[in-house]
């Protein structure tokens, strides 16, 4: 259910950068560790975007893999499940290199040109 909170934060960020222009696409980089359900986020986005410049916009979600590195033995690996102990040396000195992103990477906005020039 946190998809609604996240969708609100995404819409707010997009609205801020749109500076009044209509938004057609919002591109989001979402880390695996965020445990976001893409369909649920898409659904929430559609609702939260209503009556904002993001209404009707498409949400493009890029899922970012969760990459860890062990500070003790320097091994790097990707996790599919939330297990944060080094599989080689067993220590917990593990750094999260990626997977925690929740980043609005870009937005696509439509700009209305001078009257007569609309294509």
């Amino acid at each position: 259910m946190h998809e609604f909170s996240i969708a609100s934060a995404v819409v707010d960020t997009a609205v801020k950068h749109a500076a009044g222009r209509r938004v057609t696409v919002v591109s989001l980089r979402c880390g695996r560790l965020r445990q976001v359900v893409p369909d649920a986020l898409d659904f929430a986005f559609g609702i939260v975007a209503r009556e904002t410049v993001c209404e009707g916009a498409r949400l493009d979600q890029e899922l970012v893999a969760a990459q860890l590195r062990c500070d003790a033995c320097d091994r790097g690996w990707e996790i599919e499940v939330p297990a944060f102990r080094c599989p080689t040396c067993g220590t917990a000195d593990v750094a999260v290199l990626s997977g925690e992103e929740l980043e609005v990477e870009s937005i696509e906005v439509s700009e209305t040109e001078e009257a007569g020039c609309t294509v």
């Binding site: 960020t13 950068h17 593990v94 929740l102 990477e105």
Partner: protein, 227 residues
């Protein structure tokens, strides 16, 4: 009409983080350490606070910020404990936010007597997902999990169990009545948040509360120490 791509590259939670930093600056200026207490609904956060505050936390002057979707039932329960309690409702009419965010806390700060406090305990809305995403400007976060919720919770809600400095397992007085394996719980916890501090308590019988009290009493000093 033509379309233009605008590069943004901004964390969607930046706005919350900015307000959380402003809260933190206010807390620091008043020398108040802040604790964010999170759990599922019914894990016993309020009972735990009631018990701890009834007997006091050493010489600390403690205040509570009660986050609830609706009503003031929890704040009412704490009212007789002679600590300043501020109710913060996230709802407006029907429904409401399922978590506290930095802005909600900020809006409540004028009602919190920061100058009279050493420790502000923020009781978050009971929820096992959303509170993990929103920093409030706190120094530490506690995750309360009760044995009646089952021993698999760290595995199912890793975000919450990772976003805390202390895990408190509550209701251990009920262990003999429920299918809860502490070993299994610890196993899940060690997988998602290896080495995180943990305490086992019963808010009802008081078992284990001395250790939790010690942890809380030490928090302001830990918070003031340079990282």
């Amino acid at each position: 009409m033509h379309r233009v791509r605008v590069r943004v590259v901004e964390d969607a939670l930046d706005a919350n983080a900015t307000i959380a930093r402003a809260n933190r600056a206010d807390f620091d200026r008043h020398g108040v350490a802040v604790l964010n207490v999170m759990s599922a609904p019914g894990a016993g956060k309020t009972t735990l606070l009631e018990r701890l505050l009834r007997d006091g936390l050493g010489d600390l002057r403690v205040g509570v910020l009660e986050g609830d979707v609706e009503g003031s039932l929890d704040a009412d329960r704490l009212a007789h404990l002679h600590v300043p309690v501020t109710q913060l409702n996230t709802g407006s009419g029907f429904g409401g936010e399922c978590h506290l965010d930095a802005n909600m806390v900020r809006s409540a700060l004028p009602s919190v007597p920061l100058e009279d406090l050493d420790l502000l305990i923020v009781e978050n809305v009971g929820n096992l997902v959303c509170p993990a995403e929103f920093r409030l400007g706190e120094d530490a976060r506690i995750m309360v999990s009760s044995v009646t919720e089952g021993d698999d919770k760290p595995g199912k809600y890793p975000l919450m169990f990772r976003a805390c400095e202390l895990v408190v397992v509550n209701k251990i007085d009920l262990l003999e009545h429920v299918d809860f394996s502490m070993e299994r719980f610890d196993g899940f916890l060690d997988t998602v948040h290896p080495g995180v501090e943990r305490l086992r308590v019963s808010a009802r019988t008081g078992e284990g509360l001395d250790a939790l009290r010690d942890w809380l009493v030490a928090l302001p000093d830990r918070a003031a120490a340079p990282a």
